[in-house]
Amino acid sequence: MKFILRMFVIILPIALISFFYLYINDDDYYPGADYRNYNLPQFELNELYSQSPISNKDIQGTYLINVWASWCITCRVEHGFLVKLSNKNIPIMGINYKDDRDDAINWINKFGDPYKLIIHDFKGSLALDMGVTGAPETFLVSNGEVLVHYRGEVNTMIWQDVFTPVINKYELFK
């Protein structure tokens, strides 16, 4: 009886802790990353600058979608990396999320514009359909299909570990 109890109280915690260790120490473990594939939802919204209508057919091919807002401090941190990516000719579409139009335009004027175009999602309806929980979030989309959904700041490390394997697998941006 004592032996069983002894084994139980030692082995159970060790098993639990090892499980969690393996779970989070996995090299691919990025809690913000989601690799489920699904189609980009249908939308009809306005472009931020021109305020002309924009929908799925206006964005074709392979690109990143970055959800950002002027009120989001992490987006400011992330922004420099996005500018670098756009300089490497990687197309980025912006979704301006629940933001005031003037604030958003001022923000872009101040920090630079890495975006091909910016969808003004004032109500957050497209973002809601895409499963956005807050800004910043970044999606890798190819031919209307979402391949990667990343919640949180994208930086050099995340780009290499989360996005690059998928880009290499499908031979995108060639």
Partner: protein, 631 residues
């Protein structure tokens, strides 16, 4: 400048707490000088940390947005109250608050007890090393003092509007006080086993502290449930959200623990379980912190995602748990000295119920782990929800309440015998049976488990009514705290069953000045207003409801748009009556101009919270009475 001072004070206190730990373990803890020294060092290091926290509060109140964390989670337009509460609206600050509470529990214990009280020196040492572990976690992986000079934003960000709510602002502090309060029992259990003197009555030393922590935890969970109901618009009282479960597990274990204390303080026969439970309760509290802060599970509550933090916490918790379990298993012979438990004695029933509590904790743990295991094998996300938990919790609770029912009559250390067939037990069973029958006949309640729960719940309540009756008439002693707490449990079971059976909801489309009928109530959308407020605009819908008797009342749900984040939230409006809530929310406007209106009839939901409050109230009364008896 101030922020650097705060950070420096925190680092300094980390060093002092470590010194305290070393002193309490290196030197003879029976020595009066050492005991005084350890107590003094603790007081000083906790003063440093409290000062540091107060400076941090001042930084938040004075809108010092050069502090990264404050810039991200506060805003110059917020009322002062929410500037302060923004400190615990995210990971770093809430961790700081958690540590503050840990320090304060220790400080309170240090202040009110004599320095030579059994186990005190070693317990203070153990508390100190736990504080050091958390402080290092704070400073190394989640530093709230980080600055963003020189580009401090002018107005800060804004805290999520759903978090701008009094219930939310106070529910985390209550929960943290509860979780971390079990450190006193944990530290004493470890000190007791290390010192190895089994004649020390360690149960008596930790009883009040553990009940206090349990009261905080109960209130914290209840407040969280209430907040989710009316502010998040979840429209119910419990959702088996992983973070709710993570709070429920230590609560269940703690409930078993405080029952176990009263058994082992009387006969020391359950001591081995009491010690084990004190370790389990504290481990589960820490496990909760790990689950929430490592980003392992998605939930409304989950904090920033950072594997580094998860690893640190896991290592720290791992050392604590495996270390204490090793000490436990090497001291088994010391703990099993008590006499065997008599069958059908009060302690036998409490032990059986402790097993039920254990099963519930284990199943909840399984519900949290299963999706993770499944995900790592099949690379698919699944979630475990209400059907799983209901299938386990309902029968277990019913069984446990039957044993509780028998334990009322049972005596400590004596076999319990039924003296005659006509006694309060059979009468209670009879009355409960007829109550269930009338519930079935008159109120048309048909769910089997609901009826069984109502039976078990009323069994408890009526049995305790007999106890009260006996006390009033024959002046027969009864433990008033047990009576109140267990009647609360009975009420909880009945309220949950009735809520489950009777509540209903429907989505209606209503145009302005039109009306619709639901459950005999006429619901008319009589007006729509635009309201301007300091930090948000809102659309307010005014509904006129007419009940079946022809009485009118108004409900005014809103949709709000907050300026700072542009976030849109839905504000419910609730009409509260004794038996039910009428809960109304407005959704989107359709193309034909009508509005989607969600209406819910939530029966007995207030009774659920009231039952929980009754339980915590009995705990508070018990603490007061123990302290009065001491004087």
């Amino acid at each position: 400048m101030l922020v650097e001072i705060a950070q420096f004070l925190t680092i300094l206190s980390t060093g002092l707490f470590f010194l305290n730990f070393s002193f309490s373990f290196l030197f003879d803890s029976k020595d009066q000088h050492i005991a005084n020294l350890v107590s003094k060092i603790y007081t000083h290091s906790s003063l440093l940390l409290v000062t540091s926290f107060l400076i941090y509060v001042w930084l938040a109140v004075s809108d010092n947005f050069s502090v990264l964390y404050i810039a991200q989670h506060s805003n110059s337009n917020l009322p002062i109250f929410y500037k302060i509460t923004s400190i615990w609206s995210a990971h770093e600050g809430s961790m700081f608050l958690w540590i503050l509470f840990l320090v304060l529990w220790g400080a309170l214990f240090n202040f009110v007890t004599d320095n030579l009280q059994d186990l005190k020196v070693k317990s203070m040492g153990i508390i100190s090393i736990i504080i050091v572990g958390f402080l290092l976690f704070l400073l190394l992986t989640s530093n709230p003092f980080e600055t963003i000079l020189p580009i401090a934003p002018a107005n800060g960000a804004d805290i999520n509007p759903v978090l701008q709510d009094p219930a939310l602002a106070i529910h985390p502090p209550f929960l943290y006080m509860g979780y971390i309060g079990f450190v006193i029992a944990f530290a004493h259990a470890i000190a007791f086993m290390i010192e190895g003197n089994s004649s020390v009555k360690w149960e008596a030393l930790v009883r009040t502290w553990s009940i206090a922590a349990w009261v905080f935890l109960t209130i914290g969970i209840t407040l969280g449930s209430w907040w989710a109901y009316y502010e998040l618009g979840w429209g119910g009282y419990w959702f088996w959200d992983p973070v709710e479960n993570v709070a429920l597990m230590p609560w269940l274990a703690a409930t078993a623990f405080i029952h176990s204390i009263s058994v082992s303080s009387k006969s020391s026969s359950l001591r081995i379980w009491t010690i084990l439970l004190s370790i389990i309760v504290f481990s589960l509290s820490l496990f909760g912190a790990f689950i929430v802060r490592s980003g392992i599970i998605d939930s409304v509550h989950s904090f920033a995602n950072d594997p580094e933090r998860g690893l640190y916490l896991l290592a720290f918790i791992g050392i604590l748990i495996i270390g204490s379990m090793t000490i436990f298993s090497s001291r088994l012979s010391m703990l099993t000295s008590g006499s065997a438990i008599k069958t059908f004695s009060k302690e036998s029933f409490i032990s059986i119920n402790n097993i039920f509590f254990g099963v519930l904790v284990f199943s909840t743990m399984l519900g949290i782990l299963y999706p993770l295991i499944y995900e790592s094998i099949y690379e698919q996300k699944i979630s475990v929800g209400a059907p799983f938990y209901n299938a386990i919790f309902v029968p277990m609770t019913v069984l446990a309440s039957i044993f509780l029912f028998f334990s009322v009559e049972a005596r400590w250390q004596r076999k319990f015998v039924i003296r005659s067939l006509i006694n309060s037990m059979s009468i209670s069973a009879l009355i409960s049976g007829s109550l269930v029958f009338s519930a079935y006949k008159i109120f048309n309640i048909t769910g089997t488990w609901e009826l069984i729960s109502i039976f078990a719940g009323s069994l408890i309540i009526i049995r305790y009514l007999f106890v009260i009756w006996d006390y009033l008439l024959n002046n027969k002693y009864s433990n008033p705290f047990s009576v109140i707490a267990h009647m609360g449990l009975g009420m909880l079971m009945i309220s949950i069953a009735l809520n489950n059976e009777l509540s209903s909801e429907r989505a209606l489309n209503i145009n302005i000045n039109q009306s619709d009928m639901y459950q005999g109530y006429e619901i008319k959308l009589s007006d729509l207003k635009l309201v301007n407020n300091p930090n948000h605009d809102s659309v307010q819908a005014i509904f006129t409801l007419t009940d079946p008797l022809g009485n009118n009342f108004y409900l005014k749900p809103e949709k709000r748009k907050y300026f700072a984040r542009g976030q849109i939230t839905t504000e419910t409006d609730i009409y509260v009556t004794l038996l039910k809530d009428i809960y109304i929310t407005i959704g989107d406007q359709l193309k034909d101009g009508s509005w989607i209106v969600n209406i819910q009839f939530n029966y007995f939901i207030r009774w659920i919270w009231f039952s929980a409050i009754m339980m915590s109230f009995s705990g508070i009364m018990l603490i007061v009475s123990i302290n009065r008896a001491k004087r």
